[in-house]
Each structure stands twice: as C-alpha cells, then as structure tokens.
Symmetry: C2
Subunit: 107 residues, 2 copies
Amino acid sequence: MITEQPTFKALADPTRRAILRQLANSDMTIAQVSNNFDMTRAAVKKHLTVLSDGGLITVRTRGRERVNALNPDGFAPVRDWLGFFEQFWDDRLTDLKTAIEKDRSND
Amino acid sequence: MITEQPTFKALADPTRRAILRQLANSDMTIAQVSNNFDMTRAAVKKHLTVLSDGGLITVRTRGRERVNALNPDGFAPVRDWLGFFEQFWDDRLTDLKTAIEKDRSND
DNA sequence: TTGACCTGATACCAAAAGGTTTCATATTTA
DNA sequence: TAAATATGAAACCTTTTGGTATCAGGTCAA
C-alpha cells in the first residue's frame, strides 16, 4: 500500500523479470533490449517504464539513446517485505521452543 | 517462466499481500478473512485461490469450513529469484576488487 | 428432517494490462 | 542541410483482472 506496490507490480510480469536478468549482465539501450524479445520496441519501452516506476532500473540519457541500468537498491522493498515473514517465523519458532522448555519444567 | 510466475503474480496484488499478513498471525476460514476486507466473500475467495495457486497458502477442510494457512515454503521461489541478483552483485564486487588489486600490482 | 451456515461455481461488468501501429521529436552523421 | 537513427507518445484492440450478484451443494444443529 505504501510504496512497495509499484515494485511488486513490476516483478509480476515474466518479460520484465527477463529484462532485469539481461540488465544484470550489462546496461542496455531500449533498442538493445528490444532485440532480445519477440515484441515491438514500443512494448519493451512500456515494460521499461514499469520497471522504472518500480525503482528497479535507472535510465540515463546518452545522446539520442536511453541507457537502462539495473538498480540494486530497488529490490529492497521486496526483501524487506519478505523479511517481515521470516522474522515472524523466527519468533514463532522461539515461542515454540519456549513453550517446550516450559512444558519440560513441569514434568 | 518455470513455476515462479504464479508466485510473483500472487504477490502483485496489495489485497493478497494483506491477506498473507493476516494469515501470519493465525489460520483463518474464508469467512474470517472476508471480515477483514471491504469486499464480498466471493472476491476474497478468488484471491485465496490465486494465493493457493502461487503456493503461498495451504487449504484444509474442517467440516463445512476451509481453513487457510500460510505456507512458508511458498516464498522460496521469490527468495531464490532475488538470490540470483544478490549472487550476481557479489560476483561483480569480487571482480571489481580483483581488478583493483591487479591494477595496484602494476604500479 | 429441516433450516441455518459455509463454501463452490458461474455469469456478468468495468477497468487495467500487454501489444501493435502510427506519427512526432531529438541526435547523429554523411 | 538531409537522411538515418533512437526514442516518446498517443490511439486503438484484445485479454486478463478484480469485483459483484446469484444459485447450487455440502455440513451442522435443533
């Protein structure tokens, strides 16, 4: 609801996740990214816009080109969100352990 | 493309992520989950189906009720996917460090 | 058995998403 | 300057998505 929504939305599409993997290897212009997918440049451009909105990539201008680059920090919202659950499970395990210890002391 | 798509898709909706947080606290029937959201039971049921398809929750029958529970293992595909990028960045840092060391040895 | 209760499933709707086509604009470069 | 290159943006189309309303079926309790 806060600001994590654009990130999760950006990751929901398989084409966009594939683009991110491409960008992990090297920065690419829109045309370069387009060459790797079976769709028009306009469609790829839309995906790049969504990825940018989600903070997962950055775009810099180089002459008439736009160079897209992965933004490692953009993954933070997702990692944090997953972290909530992991923390939760850790706490649950701790509680379970405590309960067992307590039960043993009652023997 | 493999089997991670249903998981990412399930996480893309804010209502579904909210449901997961609810289920982190305790297992709930469809009716119980519905009480916490401003939409019909049918709509919530659809969301639960998507979450189940994504492997993020499990559903067990208890009489005439369906009890929905969080499935911790369901998050693995997302963690693994994120892991690829983290591994990648680690390698990049290692390469950078190596390059710097090599450069220094040339002084 | 008979209601009351919990859920499944279907039909239907409006809005969003993913694509394409087309045209305009900015940069290079011959 | 002119042509080629790289992109932005808008209009349009089809499918998916998130929701509702409605009805049928299984389960519990009096």
